[in-house]
Symmetry: C2
Subunit: 245 residues, 2 copies
């Protein structure tokens, strides 16, 4: 393939600034990869995520961190891009009830596709994404069947994939180390690997000074994860909602 | 799905300004769709393509035409993004010999993914792309096996796909009306549907005033297509290369 031997140890890791992707980065590093971290700037409401991503990438020893500018203004109608209000205080049943308004069409697919293009350019055959199908809150592009199908597509779509297939190998591997874990298990795993979760941002609707709302789906799942894991929750909340429950 | 009945007649069509995608747009229109044309501005060498795309979309009756800004600077090393020289005067054997330097990692995949996100936002379930596997010049992401795999991925990745699957239907359909056609057959098809090929740009390396080089793979395949189709070639070439052969 013209790659040098060392290239096989490179991985592109999607790092959003959140809890899951920080854990995925720590796992990729522990797996022995030189990690190239990738974040997306997509007119999201909270740039605090990107600052967190930069700091997480540096602290967890990524070789480099790139922020890719992505215009998602074509895709109106989702809470994460600022058009619909973020739902708050939903029960677990409500959170489990279908695809939430925070769904952005093809978001993970676009992220993974650009990551794959960068990986091919770097001579990397491994991609890490911190998707999770247990506490996945209804996103279709966090499910194992999506990941498996897209890995097949990538190996048909790329020069690296086609050339590896001719030698009976898989050119591009999609790693989803968190996909079967509960939030508590993710938090324990990351804690073992030295992730400082105080630096991660999960809230869909943080205050201007970066405090978590504590009430959106993401905050609720995160809070419960720390409780279940028996790990102290380092999140800075805007209200002391946890104390009341 | 919450879609109105009329939504089923909308399609997103990838329009590059080239011969193939203009033909695909004409076919989509003939198939009865209200066509939403999508082009990408990705620091390509020749902005003439985008001007052509705008004119083609208007002439072929697209409902709207959007130009999506896409930063492909992560993906260095391809002739189409300006780093490697475009190969010229290659024989048919050379053109058939593997993946050319004009390959951009994941390009069609990124285009189709963003098109799919826009389609879902519009309530459209149909995407058209003018890929071609006969004169495809070695791009892995123009092959039927890639298209079929990605259609499956899209229907697993999207809210529209998942919701349609629960009703036993396919939410997103990828149309590749040119995939099995020779360049000559494409030109005859488009001519029947009123495509004015004088407005289309195929050259990988046009002159500053928009004349085709006549010598890159794309020019050679196009020229031969008009000859084989028995249709007068309206292309404006920088040199009268055709007269010498």
């Amino acid at each position: 393939m013209g790659d040098q031997g060392t290239d096989d140890r490179r991985a592109v890791v999607l790092v959003s600034g959140g809890l899951d992707s920080a854990t995925a980065l720590a796992v990729a590093k522990a797996d022995g990869f030189a990690c190239h971290a990738l974040s997306f700037d997509y007119t999201q409401r909270h740039a605090a995520e990107l600052d967190a991503a930069t700091e997480i990438a540096a602290r967890l020893g990524a070789v480099e961190h790139r922020i890719y500018p992505l215009d998602l203004s074509l895709f109106t109608g989702s809470a994460l891009t600022g058009v619909v209000d973020v739902p708050k205080d939903r029960s677990e049943d409500e959170m489990a009830g279908g695809i939430p308004v925070t769904y952005v069409p093809c978001r993970n697919l676009i992220f993974l596709t650009i990551a794959a293009g960068w990986a091919e350019t770097l001579g990397a055959g491994d991609l890490y994404i911190g998707v999770n199908a247990v506490d996945y809150s209804g996103y279709p592009d966090c499910r194992p069947e999506f990941i498996q199908s897209f890995e097949e597509t990538l190996n048909l779509a790329t020069k690296r994939g086609v050339e590896a297939a001719s030698g009976g190998e898989m050119g591009i591997r999609l790693h989803t180390p968190l996909i079967d874990l509960t939030k508590a298990e993710i938090i324990r795993l990351g804690t073992e690997h030295g992730v400082d979760y105080a630096r991660t941002v999960s809230c869909y609707d943080p205050s201007p000074d970066g405090l978590a709302c504590g009430r959106c789906d993401s905050c609720q799942i995160r809070r419960k994860g720390f409780l279940d894991a028996g790990v102290e929750d380092p999140t800075r909340y805007a209200e002391r909602v946890g104390d009341a429950t």
